[in-house]
Subunit: 241 residues, 2 copies
């Protein structure tokens, strides 16, 4: 097949298609480089269009493109935690974390740059987008826990775990993605289980959630494995009872 | 006693005393108001000096004063986790968290503004100062755990818990400091215990740390209380073993 001349190719796209194409190119670049290292020329080149065309769609230049790309990444990230409410909770959470960590893996540099802060493209708007993702993830999880009106303590537990997952993701990227993604994922699920269980000792609603969730787990699942690995570590703690 | 005229009073201070006085005034203001809402006039007024005098000590203006105040707050915050290596680990952590949450309580608005981001005074320098506090806190805790060379997994667990404490602090401030500081503190200690214990199931070094720490705890302490509250919640989970 003969390669198409970009100018011919892009005349055929609708306004919406063109916008999406530029956004895809921007997201690809912002995912793998720090915002400082992405120019509008790079975006134009990646999309196979001219720089003036990029400006026609994004007259606010790089800042506007960055925010649009971030908005689009945020939508994708929020969807990671959308999961049918079926089966043991730890299995649902495992699937959600799998999508989340795949996203982190594929957007490594951009993810670090965004969350580590100090970048020139960061504003209160970009901060609000990131915070929106955190809130959406918390809402998804609380829905899976089956509580319409979570207590402050339960909500706080979920939000604390989300923060710790974010921290773990950054450290993971910083440490050349060690351990393997699947192992990190399973460990983060276990962290959720124990954090929720500790809160259950101080909050009746959370205790109900934990009891209900444990009833749906089976011995071969995440909680069974966790128990079998942890019990030998604490077997000498009888003096504490 | 007759009140002193500010101009007379401040001529008597040495350069270092004066600098400290201005910093104290700045920290007091930045602790209780968003950086946007603090002017150099406010700092001058709080310190009882003239605006030109503030500029003489901080020619970089508000940005320089903010960074110096943040540096001073960071030093104080790092000291929260300095604790003699004696007694059960949960008691040491309880004392450290008590100091930390007292600091958060006393610097509420500034703490939120700093960590929630999007402020005009934030730069890569202020980000580095905040990150330095996190790292110092992690080092303090790892020293208390008695490991000279922590595994990646153990270090990650400690840093994840620090992130979740930060998240909890922000939510706590946002929710009018509910629950009471002591209750939040004890619950955060419990979260640390269970996170570490879950990691112990996957990391031999952490398992050794947990075994050693549990041996030093007693039934009346934090871990004993946690166990007695949590065991009834999980008593029906026998099918998972």
């Amino acid at each position: 097949m003969a390669s198409q001349v970009p100018t011919r190719a892009y005349r055929r796209l609708s306004v919406e298609e063109r916008r999406r194409q530029l956004l895809t190119a921007a997201l690809e670049l912002f995912a793998r480089r720090a915002p400082e290292e992405v120019s509008l020329d790079d975006v134009a080149e990646t999309a196979g269009v001219s720089r003036p065309l990029v400006y026609r769609y994004f007259p606010g230049g790089k800042q506007q493109l960055y925010e649009a790309a971030l908005r689009s990444a945020a939508d994708e990230l929020e969807q990671c935690f959308a999961e049918p409410p079926e089966g043991p909770l730890t299995e649902r959470l495992t699937r959600a974390l799998n999508r989340y960590l795949t996203f982190v893996d594929e957007h490594d540099t951009g993810f670090s740059a965004l969350l580590q802060g100090g970048s020139v493209v960061e504003t209160s708007r970009t901060g609000a987008i990131v915070d929106g993702v955190r809130r959406a993830a918390a809402e998804h999880i609380l829905r899976h826990l089956g509580v319409a009106e979570p207590t402050a303590r339960l909500r706080m537990t979920v939000r604390m775990w989300i923060s710790s997952v974010e921290a773990a993701s950054l450290i993971w990227l910083d440490e050349d993605k060690e351990p393997a993604r699947e192992e990190l994922r399973d460990w983060l699920v276990e962290q959720f289980v124990v954090c929720l269980t500790a809160t259950a000792g101080r909050d009746a609603q959370t205790a109900g959630v934990v009891r209900g969730a444990l009833a749906l787990e089976d011995a071969e699942g995440a909680v069974g494995g966790l128990l079998r690995r942890v019990l030998p570590v604490v077997e000498d703690a009888g003096h504490l009872l």
